[in-house]
Structures are given as C-alpha cells and as structure tokens.
Symmetry: C2
Subunit: 110 residues, 2 copies
Amino acid sequence: MFHALADATRRDIVECVLLGKSTVSSLARRYPMSFAAVQKHVAVLERAELVTKERRGREQIVRANIAAVRDASTVLDHFESLWRSRMERFGDLLAETVASEPGHPRGAAE
Amino acid sequence: MFHALADATRRDIVECVLLGKSTVSSLARRYPMSFAAVQKHVAVLERAELVTKERRGREQIVRANIAAVRDASTVLDHFESLWRSRMERFGDLLAETVASEPGHPRGAAE
DNA sequence: TTAATCTACAACCATATGGTTGTAGATGAT
DNA sequence: ATCATCTACAACCATATGGTTGTAGATTAA
C-alpha cells in the first residue's frame, strides 16, 4: 500500500482515477514515459488494491478503490493517536504546537 | 515518505518511537535482524524526516517527527476529498456505503 | 587500563524496481 | 478485409533495496 503510493506517478494515477474512471491508454498519454511503464504502475496499484481494472472491449477501465486509501489513512491515524496519548501522558499540549517532539523543528514532506 | 513507511519493520520503528524515545540499539534488540539492518531502516526513516537522531554519549536517541506523519496524512486526506467531491457530483451518497466506485466491492489492506 | 557497549561505515548479495524496446493478439473503425 | 487502437507480455538494464558479514572508532563501565 504505502509502497504503491511511494512513486509520484502512481500517486498521480490514483488522483486521476479518483476524479473519474480512466483507461490505461488515457492514463498513459499523461506521462512522459512508455505505455508499458504506465501499465506497470497500474499493475502495482492493482496489486495493492488501490485500483481495479475492468475490460470493456479493447479497453481496460481503471477505477479507484477508496477503501484501500482509507486503510492507509487508518495506519497514519493510529500513529497520530499514539502520539496524542503520549502528549496527554505528558500533560503537555504545548508540545503539539511545535508539531514534533519537544525541542525539535518540523520537517518537510517525503 | 510513503516509501519509508512501506516496510513493516520501519512502521514498527515509527510506532515505537512515537510511544517514546528509543536508542538505535534498543530498537535493534526488537527485531530478528542484524544491528546494521536496523540502522539502515532508521537511516531511511531519518532521510524521510519521520525521525531524528541525537547523539548522547555513545548512544543515538531516536525521536519521532509527527509533522512528517501528518504530511502523509494530508496527501491521503486530499485523495479522500477528491473522492467525496466526486460523490457529491454524482449526488449519490449511497455509493459511499459501498466504499468503492459503484458496482465494485472493497478490497483488503496492503 | 581493559572490557563491554554502542555506533558508523563498507562491501557484498539476491531480489526488486522504474524505466526501456520488442512482439503479438484482440477489439474497433473504416 | 485492412488499418488503427488498445493491451498483454517478455526481455533487458541501471539502480535501489532489505538483508548479510566485517572493520573500526567512540563512549561507558568495571
């Protein structure tokens, strides 16, 4: 799951597909890479169950599976709740504004 | 970020560290692998800014960076909001109980 | 001082990964 | 029927990855 989302192209594919159904070829036209490369990315997402494929004639329709996205969110929410319970044990909600462990600055995304 | 979380050991390390400070060696004792392997995992997490390291004598204290976790959550929340706005465009909130695109069952986690 | 503990770093290895080009079958349009 | 479009699959490649063992320096404990 997280691995599938670790690639920027794949995240973009998920985003596209969440906005509406796509075919593999329409997705392929979006990225500066070979069709086969996009196919591979879709295969990774499919294996992670973030998308499903449905053949319609000569085309494969790619659909999102929001439940799988939510599964990933659940893991992160769990991390957040661990953090919050620890903060409460500290009885120190000030640390929350620092958004990191006390005394440490926040970092940037991936 | 997502890549760093893609490995089960690394997720577990994040969880440990969120619960409280750890040293690299205390983390290493938790997993059935060499110290160097755990070190590598910590290095990946550090590079993704999910943790920071602070030397204290001969030890390295490992601390969580919840802000980075939240950055990942933001991406997933964005996906969720895309999905929701599309559902609203459908004017069909029934689809939400299916938890996937209409006509498709939900999948399992990673 | 010696021994124990902790860590950094390097080299190695089998496997995986994000791309490539190539081949070929199926479907759809003309 | 031919041509265009779409897709599946294979092989390849340079690089990355999750582990290994080995070497060695720094800190701490006895």
